[in-house]
Symmetry: C2
Subunit: 239 residues, 2 copies
């Protein structure tokens, strides 16, 4: 094991982008819908616009400007805006509800399940996601993600990067912050976890925003581990 | 599937006694400790006395006479009383702490893991236990219990039979109460769940209090399903 990781007992995972490929999964379903309904919509731009509404909506809750809502509700509100923006007016309520649940059906990255199984042999593996519990449970059943435990925004009625999320997960596991490692493809999430005393693993997901997107994939000495995949993370952690 | 069970989407499980054998597991560890320390203690009586302190302690919290505490803390307070009662004065702090965590190491009944795997193929399977999250996660890793999700007293800061436990689990799964089935070896737990609108499965555990104990194992038409084991429950539910 990397010496800096000694003493880790649990790994808590960001999910959207880190464990599952939201961009590819959403674009794929939108593309199929566009085809079946004869719409003129760029599925990749649609997926990006939908995702782009997510962080501002959570930030409004964290600033106290909006009440806590589950991500399913937030996703649906953004979807309505995006449908208007893309001039899609022909979807029935059942079609919109089904499309909104694409976030429950996101596909794991190719290394996710195999990596999690290796990591689970040595550590507690849990989600620590801004997704809601039902979304995370559906996704896990759909993709075969072997979580020991699901921590979500509705467990704590907060969103990352509120410290209550990171310290809340450690508290529910009865672990000290330094016994918990946050695993994420996003540096701000890891920096917020580190401020709470958690260890950190940066996992590079170059395709999170699809091909051709420019992402900050540089390793950083500030993180406990920098890894290219969950299998590489398992190697670093001696599983 | 039994017709009364139609529409069930998630099964939530009582754990102590229903999924795992607290009596046998605690008595076994106490017996080993008694032997290694040369104590004169009846391990079966010790296990029963420890468990007997549990319900009154939770009831004090539910009546507002004591603040919410995790079961680990409650178990430890009862353990101190039971050690006094059995005149055991020679345990070091580390030995007491280890013994207290026997509740994290309780063994599944012989049918539990196999039954849960079958049930998990068709339904969400989750704990709904008065145990705390870390206890339930440790126990699952120890015994190979394949939960999709862990709901515990510290998820809701309540104990069963408070309606907030049953309705809280349904709410976090975004299911209607009648889409959730409570599985338990204890009739009061099932009756409290039924009052909240959940379906119910009574699973008979004749050895919960060891050999020779008299338990109420009669099937009841008020329950959605009456089953002799988790495998029998899987048969009833068509898995």
């Amino acid at each position: 094991m990397d010496p800096g990781a000694a003493g880790t007992k649990a790994l808590v995972f960001d999910v959207f982008g880190t464990v599952v490929d939201w961009h590819g999964s959403v674009a794929r379903e939108v593309r199929a819908l566009v085809k079946s309904k004869g719409l003129r919509v760029n599925a990749v731009k649609f997926a990006k616009a939908w995702r782009a509404g997510y962080r501002p909506a959570m930030d409004r809750v964290l600033r106290g400007e909006a009440p806590f809502e589950k991500i399913d509700v937030i996703h649906r509100a953004i979807l309505e805006d995006v449908l208007t923006q893309f001039k899609v007016t022909t979807l029935a309520e059942a079609e919109k509800a089904h499309l909104n649940f694409v976030w429950h059906r996101l596909k794991p990255w190719p290394d996710s399940v195999r990596g999690l199984k290796r990591l689970k042999s040595k550590f507690i593996v849990a989600t620590l996601s801004n997704g809601n519990t039902s979304l995370l449970v559906d996704m896990a059943k759909h993709g075969g993600l072997p979580w020991d435990c699901v921590f979500s925004s509705d467990t704590f009625r907060l969103f990352k990067p509120d410290p209550g999320m990171y310290l809340g997960a450690a508290g529910m596991l009865d672990l000290r912050p330094e016994e918990v490692m946050m695993v994420a493809a996003h540096k701000p999430d890891l920096r917020a976890a580190a401020k709470c005393g958690l260890k950190t693993a940066f996992v590079k997901r170059p395709l999170e925003h699809g091909r051709g997107a420019t992402l900050d994939l540089a390793s950083e000495p500030e993180f406990t581990v920098n890894a290219g995949s969950f299998l590489d993370l398992a190697d670093h952690l001696g599983c």
